[in-house]
């Protein structure tokens, strides 16, 4: 039996655990049975579609440009997701797009520039996917947090402006707090890795029979990449959004009005 090829039978076997979850929901009257079934089925359809499409993109004979096109589509989806999850944040769709583009350009330039991984479809797509996925979550968090901080602390920000501070100085303590909030979970999960859980890429490599230490080095490179990407995306959103909620003559806009 090959650990990396479970086949359709293996997939169906693993579904037994979903049945357990549904049974638990039913017996405990959680009214989550339909949600669990729907989530499991949706995940299966989405991932299988992705799997078949990736098979075409990652084929050794396929042009690497197909992989780059895949990345562009991922950026589009991520921007759309950021926009829909943080509707109250003015201009979040555009900021999200700029942020994701910056993340991909900066991180892939580093990783391919230092030849950490070869430039191939099978490296471009999963690496970009991990960076975009993690950055997307952090972007939503920081966007909402900045808007929340500047709305809640509006009186403090305006008191600072009234003392002659620039919008950059007046907003700094609150934006800094929002950036920290968005970055701390990523730093904490980087610290806890290996002690509590074995991360996905490493687990996959070990299952595929790769030496554990080799798997760890790949995993570490990916984690550093994700940490850098999250920091980059959070900073781009933070700076862009803060600029947007202030006028050029150092006034804090009404957050509702800034959306127009």
């Amino acid at each position: 039996m090959n650990a990396t090829q479970i086949g359709w039978a293996g997939l169906v076997g693993s579904f037994a655990l979903v049945v357990v979850a549904i049974a638990l929901s039913f017996t405990q009257r959680l009214q989550l049975s339909r949600s669990i079934l729907w989530a499991s089925a949706r995940a299966a359809v989405q991932l299988l579609l992705v799997g078949f499409a990736l098979r075409l993109v990652l084929d050794s004979n396929a042009s690497v440009w197909w992989a780059w096109l895949w990345v562009v589509i991922m950026i589009g989806f991520a921007s759309f997701t950021i926009g829909s999850r943080a509707k109250e944040v003015p201009g979040i769709f555009l900021l999200g797009t700029i942020s994701m583009l910056t993340v991909v350009v900066v991180s892939l330039s580093v990783i391919f520039g230092f030849q950490v991984f070869p430039v191939e479809g099978r490296t471009i797509v999963p690496l970009a996917g991990m960076m975009i996925g993690n950055s997307m979550t952090a972007s939503v968090l920081v966007g909402r947090r900045i808007v929340g901080e500047l709305s809640e602390k509006r009186d403090e920000v305006e008191a600072r402006l009234a003392l002659g501070q620039s919008w950059q100085d007046a907003s700094r303590p609150y934006v800094r707090s929002a950036l920290r909030t968005a970055l701390v979970p990523q730093i904490e999960s980087t610290k806890a890795v290996g002690l509590v859980f074995l991360p996905g890429a490493m687990t996959g490599l070990v299952l595929a029979g790769v030496d554990a230490v080799d798997a760890v080095t790949v995993q570490l490179a990916i984690m550093y990449l994700i940490l850098g990407s999250v920091a980059t995306s959070v900073t781009v959103i933070g700076l862009g959004l803060t600029r947007r909620v202030f006028t050029s003559d150092h006034r804090l806009r009404s957050i509702e009005r800034a959306t127009h």
Binding site: G164, P173, D249, R257
Partner: protein, 237 residues
């Protein structure tokens, strides 16, 4: 045209000339209001709640911009003055004290990062606080102390005008009288004070000049007399 420096000499201190302000295209809060702030005096802007007094004050230091008319500082349209410079010359004290996180020293240095320990101590003494409060956490100050600290913080930017937006509304009677007395002292030192209040007893206590705003416009002489008369008869305290 970029921001320009403020002329040093001008007969006029701060003037609002036919100022209107609209939140959006169909909701105007102020309609062509005119008034001027005299140096070395307390000018009180009175009027019922919702008359637009606080909004007018925010136009004075460009936290908002008028939709029509203009605000002049020392004879110059405030729209062409660098807002950071304007706000240092036209200080503002808000309705509720707004202490920032950190010590009193940290708070005072926001508007005057280069100020020496001696200058910081003097600024506290000027508003009736002990210089030893510098190391106190600002959030631990009482309401009256916090509002005095906010005034000291504003004074450190060396303003020529201070806009006071109902600065005693969150304070008890004793502290209220203390802040009123302080405003009179600052006016005697030459600062022009524009004080917003809807407490008519307070208007009588502090005003060198009083203007009344009703429904976002200047009240007529008759309306002004009738409004202030309410205070004389003790209907509103």
């Amino acid at each position: 045209m970029g921001p320009t420096r403020i002329p040093v000499e001008s007969a006029e201190l701060l003037a609002f000339d036919g100022v209107s302000f609209a939140v959006d295209s169909d909701r105007e809060i102020l309609h062509g209001v005119s008034l001027s702030v005299a140096p070395a005096a307390v000018t009180v802007l009175a009027g019922p709640s919702g008359a637009g007094k606080s909004t007018l004050l925010r136009l004075g230091n460009r936290l908002e911009v008028p939709s029509a008319g203009n605000v002049r500082f020392r004879g110059q349209d405030s729209a062409v003055i660098d807002p950071r410079e304007l706000r240092r010359r036209v200080g503002m004290v808000f309705q509720k004290p707004v202490p920032f996180a950190g010590s009193v020293r940290t708070n005072l240095k926001v508007g005057a990062p280069q100020a020496s320990e001696e200058e910081l101590g003097r600024s506290l003494q000027r508003v009736g606080l002990e210089g030893s409060l510098l190391d106190r956490v600002a959030d631990d100050l009482s309401g009256g102390e916090a509002q005095r600290m906010c005034i000291a913080r504003t004074l450190l930017t060396q303003p020529e005008v201070i806009l006071m937006d109902e600065p005693t509304s969150a304070l008890d009677h004793e502290n209220r009288l203390g802040i009123e007395h302080l405003a009179k002292e600052l006016a005697q030192e030459g600062i022009g004070i524009l004080w917003v209040s809807h407490d008519l007893a307070q208007v009588r206590r502090v005003a060198d000049h009083a203007l009344v705003l009703i429904d976002g416009r200047n009240a007529s002489d008759e309306e002004t007399a009738a409004y202030l008369e309410q205070g004389m008869s003790g209907e509103e305290q």
